[in-house]
């Protein structure tokens, strides 16, 4: 059982995000960059599968050379090796371009399952996994809160508005996992030390036959304007000194809820 896990390095989501007013792109300088917390669950899901059935977990990312750190984090959790697609021409990539670059790096790998988070915590479009599925001609099992693999098939519980659907696909397939699927492990010191010696292959667009077909050259869209949203009118914040509940009840009465 070989598993590929797609991960993204993002600005620390606990700090408020910023857009560069000139380029309208995410500011990545001067902020802490981390492995997307949603992707930690994807790595964990992959590790659990290979620990049970044998095989290897490979982590794939697209990003600047610095994104190596996010891959190292996944390797420290226990993944076996990494692939980083990095190329100056990819700097301005949209989701489709990202999916093309990752699909290009995946071709030629042997795998049974590809695991991704449902969406990145910074961009949140959630488009890459389904685009990847389309480019690779694979079925997509999306929004999985439970995943079981046996007899050449993957079965998930897929989150819906009303509850969940049980959905099945033959391998190879792609799965996107929600945070509820597992508790992601924290890398142990031993894992962190071992990660330093694990192989991470860096590939550029020409290595995967995509020169001129991804990144700025293949942009499908452009952000032309970014303005602060109309802020909600600042409300009243009070400290509870025993009267908090009464204050809320008064307000609910005022609002005619009661």
């Amino acid at each position: 059982m070989n598993v590929l896990v797609c991960v993204k390095q993002i600005p620390d989501p606990s700090a408020p995000g910023k857009l560069d007013p000139q380029t309208k792109r995410l500011v990545r300088e001067g902020v802490d960059l981390v492995l997307d917390p949603g992707d930690e669950h994807a790595v964990e899901a992959g590790l659990q599968l290979v620990e049970k059935d044998g095989g290897e977990a490979t982590v794939i990312s697209m990003g600047p050379p610095k994104a190596l750190e996010a891959i190292r984090r996944a390797l420290a959790m226990g993944a076996h090796r990494g692939i980083l697609v990095t190329d100056p021409a990819l700097e301005n990539s949209d989701a489709l371009s990202t999916a093309r670059a990752i699909a290009g790096a995946i071709k030629g790998q042997t795998y049974d399952l590809i695991i991704c988070g449902t969406e990145s915590t910074d961009g949140s479009s959630g488009a890459v996994p389904a685009q990847l599925a389309e480019l690779l001609g694979l079925p997509l099992l999306s929004f999985a809160k439970k995943l079981e693999v046996s007899d050449g098939k993957a079965v998930i519980d897929r989150q819906t508005d009303e509850g969940y659907d049980v959905v099945e696909a033959a391998l190879p397939a792609i799965v996107t996992v929600t945070g509820g699927i597992n508790e992601a492990r924290y890398p142990a010191l031993r894992g962190i030390m071992q990660a330093k010696n694990k192989e991470v292959k860096q590939v550029g667009l020409s290595d995967i036959g995509l020169a001129g077909q991804a990144g700025t050259a293949a942009l499908t869209q452009e952000v032309v304007e970014a303005t602060p949203a109309e802020a909600r009118k600042a409300g009243e914040v009070v400290e509870d000194k025993g009267e908090g509940a009464k204050r809320v009840a008064d307000f609910l009465k005022e609002l005619k809820v009661i």
Partner: protein
């Protein structure tokens, strides 16, 4: 006139609420075509007409219900090639996201997600979407060939029937659906029922976060909600921890709600939550952390311990109701 298509999700012939919102926006942009797939889809055609839809493509093969995304993508790609619409609009739903994303890779067109508005601009399109939990609004323009695919968030647009509407022209398709290639197939559906009003329709929502400390503490939320005739919601942290089913989740992945009053209890107000509830008319928050971002949104914020305040609040509400 521009050709505006709407991916019109239905369940047993009933349109998903977001579809009527999408049709309302679509008819202001051009001639609207709805694409309704799956068993019973034709039953929704008259409703689409009331919302100004000129034409409806219907295909009732069960594969559209039982197989994720791929049959819809195959059909849409064929129809798009034939008719060449300018825009295809989807709801930012579980299925809408899968279909639109796959289709964008198939066609090599622009996909703009999380949109709250779209308008014609200089002969092209300008799409508005919130970033960073709604603190910033960005405008995106497509730079690829038509059609541009747009995923619009539920509740971003108010659904309104058209002032003048006729019966739409219905084209029923019967061409075979290819499921010979590898697909993801739905084996069964599980419904996790909640008591009280539906989250999406509720005027008042009582919502709980990780600050509640333990799943059993949701009992007091249920009690408060029952007193207020409210629906109960939850943050992602809570559903991910398994304290509440996923159907309770409000936020980026999960439901978008727009109640008159939203009461956030032990919710810090992470971006991925606020994007789903920021449209509430009035927000009340109780949280022990004075720095919690939810207080920046709240009309009334109380810094304090939910475990102490909520039981008191239930009593206060009861006494005001004269019980």
């Amino acid at each position: 006139m521009a050709g505006i298509w709407v991916f019109a999700e239905t369940v047993d012939g009933t349109p998903a609420p977001v579809v009527l919102e999408l049709l309302t926006k679509a008819r202001s942009l051009g001639d609207t075509t709805a694409i309704a797939l799956g068993p019973g889809a034709s039953k929704a055609a008259q409703t689409f007409g009331k919302y100004g839809t000129k034409r409806v493509y219907v295909h009732e093969d069960p594969a559209f219900r039982d197989v994720l995304a791929t049959p819809a993508v195959d059909l849409l790609a064929r129809l798009i090639e034939k008719d060449q619409p300018d825009l295809v609009i989807f709801g930012m739903t579980y299925d809408g996201r899968d279909v639109a994303s796959r289709l964008s890779a198939r066609l090599g067109t622009a996909l703009i997600a999380n949109a709250t508005d779209v308008a014609g601009k200089n002969g092209g399109w300008a799409i508005v979407s919130p970033m960073f939990g709604g603190s910033l609004m960005v405008t995106t323009v497509p730079r690829a060939k038509a059609p541009t695919l747009i995923l619009i968030r539920p509740k971003a647009i108010t659904a309104e029937p058209a002032a003048s509407a006729g019966a739409p022209q219905v084209e029923t398709l019967t061409d075979p659906v290819d499921t010979s290639k590898p697909v993801a197939r739905v084996l069964r559906r599980e419904v996790e029922k909640a008591s009280g009003p539906k989250l999406e329709d509720a005027a008042v929502i009582v919502s709980g976060g990780r600050g509640l400390g333990a799943p059993e503490n949701f009992k007091m939320l249920d009690e408060l909600a029952a007193e207020l005739g409210a629906a109960v919601g939850a943050s992602r942290a809570v559903v991910d921890a398994g304290w509440k089913p996923y159907s309770f989740q409000i936020g980026q992945t999960g439901k978008t709600v727009k109640p008159t009053v939203y009461i956030a209890l032990g919710i810090s107000g992470a971006m991925q939550h606020t994007v789903g509830m920021k449209g509430a008319k009035t927000i009340i928050a109780i949280n022990k952390d004075p720095e919690a971002p939810i207080f920046k949104l709240a009309d009334l914020g109380v810094i304090g311990d939910v475990h102490k305040i909520v039981p008191q609040l239930i009593q206060e509400v009861r006494s005001r109701k004269g019980k």
